[in-house]
């Protein structure tokens, strides 16, 4: 049974992606119970190249095809350059 109420996810941007889009985190309301990471990426941004973007759901690295549930935290980040 589909719930009619809208649901929130937290979107986190890091490093150059946060700087390019001008924000660090945002709560988004998603329709239905799930959506693909890729759909969130499209929702927040239509210009940045998708190559070499690392994505995580609830701080676990995953890919653009993974599904996000309500209350999840999804993050988009560039390649790591630490150490």
């Amino acid at each position: 049974m589909e719930s009619e109420k809208s649901n929130k996810i937290k979107v986190v941007l890091l490093s150059s992606i946060a700087e390019d889009l001008g924000w660090n985190e945002k709560f988004l309301t998603i329709e239905g119970t799930q959506m693909k990471v890729f759909s969130v990426w499209n929702l927040i941004n239509s210009n940045l190249p998708q190559d070499n973007i690392i994505v995580s759901i609830n701080q676990e690295i995953t890919d653009m095809d993974a599904m996000i549930n309500p209350d999840d935290e999804v993050a988009f980040m560039p390649m790591f350059t630490g150490g």
Binding site: S15, S56, Q59, P78, F80, T81, G83
Partner: protein, 160 residues
């Protein structure tokens, strides 16, 4: 072999110690403190320091390192726990800076001890590559003209 029992400072009762630091540190003091409680015979250490130049060769004012709070710590912890299970004598110590770091200040300290030199050196290098490529850290270089994110890690300096 009695000396397999290592007396490292424990994190969750393991032979692991790591910390993400917002302030600079003295790597020699850290090594000394760590090795005092660690009776292994082979001790390998690494200190990475900030180069005084940016990726384009300009004078560097400072380096900025950011992390993804929570995720970064968890990734390091899980990885070090996995490594420490491979050898029951391994002791591991990792410090990584975040925030603003000035030329020649240390960014990273790694110490690995074991009963064999090969083991200590091998895992030190694995941990170093791991922190460069598999952990959410990002570097931004500040010069006197502006700042830019580092796009690519420095290489090993030779072909493998």
């Amino acid at each position: 072999m009695r000396w397999h029992l290592c007396q490292c400072l424990p994190v969750d009762n393991l032979r692991i110690k790591f910390k993400i630091l917002e302030e600079t540190f003295n790597p020699y003091k850290e090594f000394e403190l760590w090795e005092k409680v660690n009776k292994n015979s082979a001790n390998s250490f690494f200190i990475g320091r900030v180069r005084p130049f940016d990726q384009f060769g300009n004078d560097l004012k400072k380096l900025e390192i950011i992390h993804y709070k929570g995720m970064t710590e968890n990734y390091i912890k899980k990885y070090l726990m996995k490594i420490s299970e491979k050898q029951d004598d391994l002791c591991i110590f990792l410090l990584h800076r975040i925030g603003f770091i000035y030329p020649n200040e240390p960014i990273i300290l790694i110490a690995v001890s074991a009963n064999h030199r090969g083991i200590a050196n091998k895992y030190l290098q694995e941990i170093l590559e791991f922190t460069k490529y598999k952990v959410p850290f990002w570097k931004k270089e500040w010069t006197f003209k502006g700042s830019s994110w580092v796009k690519k890690n420095t290489d090993l300096g030779f072909e493998l």
